[in-house]
Amino acid sequence: MKGGISVSEAVKTSKKEPLVRIIKRAERSNREIFTLRLLSVVLALVAGGIFILIIGYNPFTVYATIFSGAFRSSMAFQATVKIMVPLLISSLGVTLAFKLKFWNIGAEGQIIAGAVFASYFALFHSDWPHFLLMIVMFAASIIGGGLYGLIPAVFKAKFDTNETLFTLMLNYIALNFIVFLRDGPWADPASGGFPKIARFAKNAQLDKAFGIQIGWIIGLIITGAVFVYLKYTKDGYEISVASESHATARYAGMNPKKIMLKTMFLSGAVCGIAGMTQAAGSDMTLATSVAGGVGFTAIIVAWLAQLNPFGILVVSFLFSVLEKGSSVMQSSFGLSSYSASVLQGIILFFVLGCEFFVRYRFVFRKKGVA
């Protein structure tokens, strides 16, 4: 055993209270929380403005351009909506999983799976009656995305495999699968060696409403559906209980594993629909970029919107405005359209940081207190 205590040394180090402590705070009201979040967005925009200043431009003109870039003509607006559709739908899909605290990072792969399944019918059965073809493609995307979402859930249920990492891997497998299809069995014979998949026949393309592919209508419907599902159905209730505590769920007679499987199927299925709307509504073909990173942005949108379907509607719209407006930055200012990503990132950093202040606060050492 070591020698006795030399207290004076220890006393020296521990004389004062710590400089800063973190403690939990009492619950804030909804009003306070909303104001706090709004404040963080404002701060973020200011930070973004500073970034713009640093690179030598006027933040106000830049922001104004971004905004107008999305709305200045009906074509611009249509383009904005086009961007919004897959983002909105996959955010809703991701939300379902996230509500259950199942960290589905695989939206990208599920979008692709849905697109692939739907594209099969678009490419090889384009002679079917249009309405039937649409329904079948729709159903196929649901099944494709759903199955792809089910895989990680099965492994989690059976072996407790980490879903974050597993879904991540599945993304890349799916991505490469499209490349395989594009270069192999589904290669367009008429492309003259250039790797691509054939353009969908008009019959296999989504109809338009107000000049935009009807994906936006599908998106709105799904928004409402997810809202109703989560709030008013028995399934939704089970999710709200199981996400908090498996023990309580079992006490209520629920089966947490079954709930997980069901929810992940739906989550993947909705993302699959996003894939179908992109392929048959915008790209008019199956491209390797059918997901194009939307699966990841969807996670951010879902998080920003607090997993609230109507919030997602608003946030995905705003993100799309940002995205479309930023593409205008190139022509107007010579600024790369990557600025959208930068601004998105800054906004989210601030919101993430502000989340802390909802639940906790800093306590500073009072001056003069030993």
Partner: protein, 508 residues
């Protein structure tokens, strides 16, 4: 080297958490070369006090002197630097590390050569008669071995003041003897030791002095050789208080539930319940007394069908319910309103409002995929009025309600299902007087409706006045089933400490 005089001197330690006063002006002192036993029920404040000494909390007011010098302990590192070694009840070890690695982690200086370090550890352990395999991984160790690692951890860091929190709770009698031999050696070596325990026989066996805490206050400190179990129990539970709780005479008493030789193992492998046999009758309240962790949780969970058992049977209306799913058990009319330590664990879903929590067992009713919230809303509003539940609205998340109101919500829901057997644990914890009486009235109401009520409580005064019979659990065993009208508070206290009741159990 200081090994005489006061090791720790706490004066006027006060710590509040919100509205709860955990430590109320507590005084405590330990000398070097002495073993002090700290005695107190759950909620007496001993855990908070120890956490303050080990640097996890900081006191609101009051001073601490270590070896005569006033100090401010702001973190576990400070506590360790002061020579305080805390051995927690729930071990803080890294499972995949070996004993050596756990002992080395956090110590200053470079990593020592394996052979050198190993020898150091074995030297320390042999001096005290501790057995250890330094290279063994924690996840391969028995509970007693893990405790040895915890002890070595603090000794290696030069701890001269040891605090052990319920160290014998997980040990066999032989292991307890070994531990005590070690503690005696350390005392002779000049260490100051505080041991927190419920076991009176151990207090009398190993300690020099005893400090008793009750409801956040330090009640008294006595010299062990001058006291006895009776006096200690009295100090721990306090004098009986008359509460004027109604106790209707049980009518139509017939057996509803029979528990036969039930044995259950806890999650961590230790004994939960051991060979428990008793029955509950319709139209009566069976109170369950016992120190927290004596098996109450396991009893509730077994009857509710939530955990597997080792052996035994639970007969409900002559039908064994072991193996049934929770849903099936609920359908039989057994309702459980178990309020665990963290209140919003089982039974209630924190982020949901009252209405949604009312739905927990009935959400499947009604055809179609939609949940019918109307009856739940009506129930919620009814309960708010009847039980005077303070909530901004019936949709407010229940985690925002104060503890007492949460309990009302939970109990209210369970009673609503008109159960035949109502199991409720700590239903009045944290409640103000009026709310508590409302709960007692509710329970009596059920009793008059001929339901059987299993009431697990911590306030002995309440149990003595509300229950018809009282069953006492200690370390998973029944130490007595007695008539509440005829037993004394002191006798219950003794049973809680492990003394078996000599007068013959009622209804076994």
């Amino acid at each position: 080297m200081k090994n005489k005089g006061l090791a720790i001197e706490c004066t006027g330690i006060t710590k509040t958490f919100g509205a709860v006063i955990a430590n109320d002006n507590i005084n405590l002192s330990v000398n070097f070369g002495e073993i002090l036993a700290l005695l107190g029920e759950n909620g007496s404040g001993k855990t908070t006090l120890m956490n303050i000494l080990s640097g996890i909390y900081h006191q609101d007011s009051g001073s601490i002197k270590i070896a005569g010098d006033e100090v401010s302990i702001n973190s576990p590192a400070d506590s360790i630097a002061l020579g305080i070694g805390m051995i927690h009840q729930h071990f803080k070890l890294v499972d995949i590390f070996s004993a050596m690695d756990n002992i080395a982690a956090g110590t200053p200086g470079k990593l020592k050569k394996k052979s050198v370090f190993k020898k150091e550890i074995i030297d320390i352990s042999e001096k005290l008669g501790l057995k250890i395999d330094p290279e063994k991984k924690i996840y391969n160790m028995s509970v007693s071995e893990k405790q040895t690692v915890e002890i070595l951890k603090v000794l290696y860091r030069g701890a001269r003041i040891l605090i052990l929190d319920e160290p014998t709770a997980v040990l066999t009698p032989q292991e307890t003897d070994s531990l005590f031999a070690i503690l005696k050696k350390m005392k002779e070596d000049g260490c100051a030791i505080i041991i927190i325990t419920h076991k009176l026989n151990e207090v009398l066996a190993i300690s020099d002095r005893v400090t008793i805490l009750r409801k956040g206050k330090s009640i008294e400190t006595v010299i062990t050789s001058e006291t006895n179990e009776k006096q200690l129990t009295e100090l721990m539970v306090g004098k009986p208080v008359s509460l004027s709780i109604d106790r209707p005479v049980p009518e139509n008493v017939e057996q509803l539930l029979n528990v036969y030789h039930l044995s259950v193992t806890k999650e961590d492998g230790t004994v939960g319940l051991e060979d428990v046999t008793f029955d509950i009758n319709k139209g009566e309240i069976l109170g369950v007394a016992g120190i927290a962790g004596s098996g109450q949780k396991e009893l509730c969970e077994t009857i509710a069908g939530l955990i597997p058992i080792k052996k035994g049977a639970v007969l409900y209306n002559k039908e064994n319910i072991i193996g049934k799913t929770p849903k099936e058990i609920i359908d039989l009319g057994i309702s459980m309103s178990f309020v665990p330590e963290d209140r919003l664990g089982m039974g209630l879903v924190a982020p949901l409002g009252m209405v949604d929590n009312m739905l927990l067992k009935t959400y499947k009713n009604g055809r179609g995929p939609f949940v019918d919230r109307a009856p739940a809303k009506e129930l919620a509003e009814r309960l708010v009025k009847k039980l005077k539940i303070k909530t901004p609205s019936v949709e407010t998340p229940v985690r925002m309600l104060s503890g007492g109101n949460v309990q009302k919500v939970l109990l209210g829901r369970e009673i609503e299902s008109e159960p035949n057997l109502l199991i409720t644990a700590y239903p009045v914890r944290g409640l103000d007087i009026n709310s508590a009486y409302t709960i007692y009235d509710l329970l009596n109401e059920q009793k008059k409706k001929n339901a059987a009520v299993l009431f697990i409580g911590e306030d002995l005064d309440v149990l003595l006045e509300l229950a018809d019979r009282i069953m006492v659990l200690c370390h998973g065993k029944i130490t007595g089933i007695v008539d509440a009208e005829k037993i004394t508070k002191e006798q219950i206290g003794l049973m809680m400490m492990g003394h078996e009741y000599e007068g013959g159990n009622i209804g076994e």
